[in-house]
């Protein structure tokens, strides 16, 4: 599809998948969860790329292993990525390059490090310089989740549990995104950005004012990273919260003056557990789908008014996965009918994942059968369903016209 008059128009609708590449550290930094390693991608990377092509896909969310490539200040080991990039070009794959996916190299410590934004910007610039043919980037994947899991829930990286640590992490990640986008545009002026964020929603269970207050705040907190990135003013109480927990007023103004993200697509990730209930004890509980991708993405679109892409979804039950795929796709079609520009759809990921059922909090080795292929690279039923869906909609993803009046 084409968005005429928009300099940022997409030529193709992007049917995509991704290689799961999360790499946070756990247990005080003693262990790194490297999903590329756990899923054998380092071993079977060429086969993985061929499988993507075999599904009829061109777009691939791909995260080079930051902790292996960015080995020190100004030091890079491109040996693995050079091979992958060459194969991608041969197979005519279009990578959506995911530069930071929940982890940083040991020498950069964690998201509390004030030097992080500048260092990641150096990396992004070096990457864009080395691979000038790459145009699509996700500078930092799911900033909200990265900050929450690392600095508020104490699971990854710095493993802190404080509001100040959370604000620090989210400031650094948002700032890193802005600086990375700037650095990439310096090297590759026609680069495009897809800022993938986890779509979240908190539903209060009951009329209790305290429960309502918690849900209301969490529903604001989910927006903070994107608000800073897209220069959308936060609500007054959230502004006060940010300043109270260490954000300098001038830094907030710096974010609000940033224009770099004007050419970005909002990537909206959605899983069954993204909608949460604040229960009668005031605690967060994931009880499954309440409203669905359409409703939650509409909230994000209403706030940011930019093209959206469904950038991640999957289903933990392999037998239910084809049904989940079709439901997500029909959500995408419905939101397009409502007038929201949608640029792509992603089943994440290509291969099964490991230990995501426990949020990568421990290295247990649980295989989660969420992939289009299992870890032996044999297809799951959802691979056939996705191949079929793509063949049906490749040339015309939205046969029905936009109908805002519906």
């Amino acid at each position: 599809m084409r968005y005429s008059g928009d300099p940022f128009s997409m030529v193709d609708f992007m049917f995509a998948t991704g290689i799961e590449c999360s790499c946070p550290t756990i247990e005080g930094g003693r262990w790194r969860i490297d999903e590329l390693e756990a899923t054998d991608h380092y071993r079977y990377w060429r086969r993985d790329l061929e499988l993507v092509r075999g599904l009829g896909l061109r777009y691939l969310r791909y995260g080079p292993p930051l902790h292996r490539v960015f080995t020190g200040p100004g030091k890079y080991d491109w040996s693995f990525m050079d091979q992958v990039a060459e194969a991608m070009q041969q197979l005519e794959l279009v990578p959506i390059t995911d530069l930071c996916h929940f982890g940083v190299p040991d020498w950069l410590e964690n998201f509390q490090n004030p030097e992080l934004p500048q260092k990641l910007a150096e990396y992004a610039g070096a990457f864009a310089r080395r691979y000038p043919w790459i145009r699509l980037y996700t500078p930092v994947n799911e900033m909200y989740v990265a900050a929450r899991m690392s600095a508020l829930d104490g699971a990854w990286n710095e493993q802190l549990r404080s509001e100040t640590a959370f604000v620090t992490a989210i400031r650094h990640l948002a700032r890193a995104s802005v600086l990375m986008m700037t650095a990439i545009l310096r090297e590759s002026p026609d680069a495009r950005f897809i800022n993938s964020e986890s779509s979240e929603f908190y539903q209060p269970c009951c009329p209790d004012p305290d429960i309502q207050r918690i849900a209301d705040f969490e529903n604001q907190r989910r927006f903070i990273a994107l608000d800073l990135l897209y220069a959308v003013p936060v609500r007054d109480d959230v502004h006060a919260y940010l300043l109270q927990h260490g954000m300098p007023a001038e830094e907030y103004e710096w974010f609000m003056g940033s224009k770099v993200a004007e050419r970005a697509i909002l990537g909206v990730d959605y899983y069954r557990w993204n909608e949460k209930l604040i229960n009668s004890q005031g605690r967060v509980e994931a009880l499954g789908e309440l409203f669905g991708w359409y409703v939650i993405t509409s909230q994000y679109y209403d706030r940011y008014r930019r093209p959206v892409m469904h950038t991640e979804t999957n289903c933990l039950d392999a037998a239910e996965a084809p049904g989940w795929l079709w439901r997500q796709w029909h959500n995408v079609q419905l939101i397009h009918r409502a007038g929201v520009p949608v640029t792509g759809f992603t089943w994440y990921s290509l291969q099964d994942q490991v230990d995501w059922d426990i949020g990568l909090s421990r290295a247990v080795g649980n295989v989660n059968p969420v992939g289009l292929y299992d870890l032996n690279r044999d297809p799951r039923p959802v691979a056939d369903a996705y191949r079929y869906l793509i063949s049906m909609y490749r040339n015309n993803p939205f046969p029905l016209p936009v109908s805002v009046a519906d």
């Binding site: 032996n376 044999d378 049906m392």
Partner: protein, 156 residues
């Protein structure tokens, strides 16, 4: 594939076929494994000894052994399914399965039925070696056989 999944795919006009054919792959791999292990039974004189114990001719037992291996391979595929297809662990699954069959068959059931050991000496070692070898070959061949069945499915 479960019924709910099939219904969802059919509703969108897709005619789903099995993506995995572990029983077929196991049966084919088992047949090959049985044929490959047969010379070991003959060489160790186990075939003749077992045939005599069971009051069968050598030829009948020689024909039955690959058939039994075929059934055992199909059962192996049905039980282990996707796990039997493991790139790195397949051989270990297979050899373990061969050992299990040896424990259950010649060592337990047949001994209990006959009231004495089925075979002894070199022949006994031959039976064990044949079971381990056929299990190993079953495990190693399962993946390529599975790939073959998938290719035939896709070609259709």
């Amino acid at each position: 594939m479960n019924d709910g999944l099939m219904r969802f795919m059919r509703a969108h006009g897709q005619k789903p076929a099995p993506g995995q054919r572990p029983v077929t792959a196991g049966a084919l791999a088992g047949l090959c494994a049985g044929v490959a292990a047969l010379p070991l039974l003959v060489w160790s004189d186990a075939l003749a000894t077992v045939a005599a114990e069971l009051s069968l001719s050598d030829r009948v037992l020689a024909a039955a052994y690959p058939a039994i291996a075929l059934v055992a391979g199909g059962f192996y595929g049905a039980v282990f399914r996707r796990a039997a297809n493991d790139r790195r662990g397949g051989w270990l699954f297979g050899i373990s399965y061969g050992f299990l069959l040896w424990m259950v068959g010649p060592t337990a059931l047949l001994q209990a039925t006959l009231g004495r050991p089925l075979v002894t000496g070199t022949s006994a070692m031959g039976v064990l070696a044949a079971n381990l070898l056929s299990g190993l070959i079953l495990g190693l061949l399962f993946r390529p056989m599975h790939r073959l069945t998938q290719l035939r499915s896709h070609a259709r």
